[in-house]
């Protein structure tokens, strides 16, 4: 029987309250959102916080998807299921629905949150790759106020983010650009499993050429945010199968997967290439109104 080590439980009623509790309880306190990454780690004693601050009561304050003007704002407590079901979000950023269909299973998706996913920063976690591809930024709040960091700065490494002690992630912001498209592809061993590998792509067109394009990879190595050579290779190019193949190869060259029960390093590298190609193809089709 797996049971967490003893801890004290507190419940936050607002963002300000959560920040005050973190400040009072110090660095032995951890936030718990959906708990679907943290509680398994606590059961395995990989995490042994002395205090747990439950932020589920913040679901009303931080659970939202707002499409406003040229930006989408998503609250950190938005659950996977809400990301999957939102038609407003799918209309502007279809990559979210692509990814959410294959993140965990419907019951886990009832609990897990966007904020928990990004803050867990597991290299196999899909929403980081999504947020990388679409050039999202993260709003982090602490006692001294709010700061906004790019995904590139948010990710410090596996299980490590820019969120410091006493701070929390409150919102993710994504720019909406006209003539844009996005898509996500994942290969999993069975329904509900973590990725063997996955890739997300987002492009913005300027007439017949790609003005701006980005790819986010998942489960093929740490720190795959903002692969500069990919963006450079896409910029100003007309979409073509040759271009996708070139970019797919750059993705494969940047992948550093390890062999494990989900597959060999060679297979995952192959997937990094192939899934990048598929996601780019679909993102361009969506951006150009072909889908």
């Amino acid at each position: 029987m797996q049971v967490p080590a003893p801890f004290e439980y507190e419940r936050a009623t607002s963002v300000d309250h959560a920040i005050a509790l973190m400040e009072r309880l110090g660095d032995e306190a951890r936030l718990v959102a959906g708990g679907h990454s943290l509680i398994p780690m606590m059961k395995l004693r990989l995490a042994t916080p002395e205090y747990l601050i439950d932020i589920n009561d913040l679901a009303s304050e931080l659970g939202y998807i707002r499409v406003e003007g040229d930006e989408v704002r998503i609250g950190a407590m938005t659950r996977h299921r809400e990301l999957l079901e939102s038609n407003d979000l799918a209309a502007v950023l279809p990559i979210f629905r692509d990814a959410e269909k294959v993140i965990a299973d419907p019951v886990v998706r009832n609990r897990g949150t966007l904020g928990g996913s990004l803050c867990q920063a597991d290299p196999s976690e899909d929403l980081s790759a999504v947020c990388d591809a679409i050039g999202a930024s993260c709003v982090i709040r602490g006692r001294s106020g709010e700061r906004v960091v790019s995904m590139h700065d948010f990710h410090r490494g596996p299980y490590e983010t820019a969120v410091a002690d006493g701070e929390m992630l409150t919102e993710v912001r994504v720019p909406i650009r006209p003539h844009s498209g996005s898509a996500y592809h994942k290969v999993e061993r069975r329904a509900g499993d973590w990725a063997v590998a996955s890739a997300g792509a987002a492009v913005t067109m300027d007439g017949d050429v790609i003005a701006d394009g980005r790819v986010g990879l998942c489960a093929v190595g740490p720190n795959l945010t903002n692969i500069e050579p990919i963006s450079a290779a896409l910029s100003g190019q007309a979409p073509s199968e040759d271009l996708y193949a070139t970019v797919g190869q750059i993705a494969a060259d940047n992948a550093t997967p390890s062999t494990d029960t989900r597959g060999t390093a060679a297979y995952k590298t192959h997937l990094a290439k192939e899934l990048t190609i598929r996601s780019l193809r679909k993102a361009v089709a969506r951006a150009t109104g072909q889908e």
Binding site: Q2, V3, N56, V108, A191
Partner: protein, 162 residues
């Protein structure tokens, strides 16, 4: 710490250790052993209960997190001796063999039909995809849920009827 919640409509209040998982609270503290405990790793879904109308894996939820909320377990499906159509469907269509996965399967099915009274087989399979059955091969589970859906469409449940 003290937790207070409604379980199948009954208010319960108990002193527990904060680290108590909801599945153990339900089984060991409340004695409601219909909720099963299997993989302990949020993969098998036999521990599924409802928290505020949504199926959740109770091995990955703290009892403390459910405090103040409404919990429903398989014991709460039957009301005044009348089985839920989903339970009837599992009997009619052989939806179980050993019965280990059944409580979680039925609660997820109930939640699906509440949102989608006319699901396709694919939608049913998707809904139960976080739950493992080692006996049936799933076909009879899908059939059982379709049976319940058909029954409910023919005899719509009266809202507010006593």
């Amino acid at each position: 710490m003290e937790v207070t919640m409604s379980v199948n409509g009954d208010d319960v209040s108990q002193e527990i250790e904060p680290r108590t998982l909801l599945v153990h609270f339900i089984r060991d503290h409340l004695g409601l052993t219909g909720t099963h405990w299997g993989c302990d790793t949020s993969n098998c879904g036999t521990c599924v209960v409802w928290v505020d109308d949504e199926p959740v894996k109770s091995c990955t939820t703290l009892a403390a997190m459910a405090s103040g909320h409404d919990v429903r377990t398989v014991e709460g499906m039957e009301v005044d001796g009348v089985l839920d159509p989903v339970q009837e469907g599992f009997i009619q269509c052989h939806g179980l063999q050993c019965g280990f996965c059944t409580p979680g399967m039925m609660l997820t099915a109930r939640a699906l039909l509440d949102r989608n009274p006319d699901p396709t087989d694919g939608e049913i399979r998707e809904a139960i995809s976080g739950q493992i059955c080692r006996c049936t091969g799933y076909s009879t589970i899908v059939r059982s849920i379709q049976w319940a859906a058909a029954k409910e469409r023919e005899t719509p449940v009266e809202v507010g009827a006593s």
